[in-house]
Amino acid sequence: MAEAIGIYHGRLMADGQGNLLADESTLNPDTGEAEYGENHGKPVAYHEGSYVFLKKGEDSHNKRHEQNVAEFAGTTDATNEGEEHHEGPLEDDPHYDPDAEGGVKLQFDPDSVAATITGHTDAYPPETQEV
């Protein structure tokens, strides 16, 4: 495997082909427009405990780790086992609230927490990796 050229730390986005890209976009509150850091859009991959930038010719994140494609299968019948959630929230749903309209009340994390608990390199420390 080719040598990694640097470790990436920050938000991640998926490129549509099973790979990861660095996401260094921020919204300028004054102009309402997105601004981009110098590493925005660069390909990264999980590699031995870190998310590393990829050099030309190196295997992509998807090529390194994919074993199976999990396509969301179609269903037109919510009465099928395991598909009851289509008709409404189930009692074990984290957003289930019997007193709320429709039985749903979304929960929201504080922004400072929400920004790094998923979709961020901090969310996936080495002990969570199984490869």
């Binding site: 996401d23 919204l27 780790h65 749903d93 984290p94 979304l106 994390d109 608990i117 969570t128």
Partner: protein, 212 residues
């Protein structure tokens, strides 16, 4: 002409007879009407309307998702304000698709709890153009179906992580992961567990958004 305490009475005025409207077939409610009444309907009635609503585009919808789904508050307001009052709305350059392990509703935002966090999960970035979001079809009911060009995959999983059994899909205008990301729309999806080595995939033309 006669004037009475209650007003003017015109001679020979024809007073229309009340006529009761008698339904002669199945009443077809609008989607908006159904949304309001949905929680009060019996299960079999829900199923009947569910099948009826899906019938015209069933082939496309069989590919993936349907059932519960709606535009989010943010995009509904933006569209209304754009049409009524000409309030400018700038669409996102990139639309991000996220997976959730909990029910979503119209209040969807970037910091909505229980977003998927299998190891290496990240929101799917979709460039907001007519290649991925091609022109829709229909006149009385306009339908946009996407992704138009190809199936789209989230990043390959490198571990179970948390919230890895996903049941809902949400589209947002940002990827900060905070309340700064506004919800565009959401829908339920087939319950799918993402294991280590899995690449979650959204089939081509899997999502259809319809509007009367």
């Amino acid at each position: 002409m006669e004037v009475t305490p209650s007003g003017i009475v015109l001679p020979d005025l024809l007073i229309p007879q009340r006529r009761i409207i008698q339904p002669r077939g199945l009443w077809y409610p609008t989607k908006a009407g159904l949304e309001l009444a949905w929680n009060d309907l019996d299960k079999d009635v829900k199923r009947l309307y569910d099948k009826w609503l899906k019938a015209p585009t069933r082939e496309a919808k069989d590919l993936v998702m349907q059932m519960a789904g709606s535009m989010a508050n943010f995009s509904s307001k933006a569209m209304q304000d754009s049409v009524w009052g000409k309030t400018a709305f700038t669409s996102a350059v990139t639309i991000y698709a996220g997976l959730w392990a909990a029910t979503l509703d119209d209040t969807l935002a970037g910091n909505t709890a229980s977003e998927c966090a299998y190891t290496s999960y990240a929101r799917l970035a979709l460039t907001n153009n007519t290649t991925i979001f091609a022109a829709g079809t229909g006149t009385t009911t306009y339908s946009k179906t996407f992704p138009s060009d190809a199936a789209k995959s989230w990043a390959t999983s490198t571990g179970t992580g948390t919230n890895n059994t996903v049941t809902y899909l949400g589209f947002l205008d940002g990827n900060a992961g905070t309340s700064a990301d506004h919800g565009y729309c959401w829908c339920s999806i087939t319950s799918t567990t993402i294991n280590n080595g899995d690449t979650p995939q959204l089939a081509q033309n899997a999502v259809t958004v319809t509007q009367d």
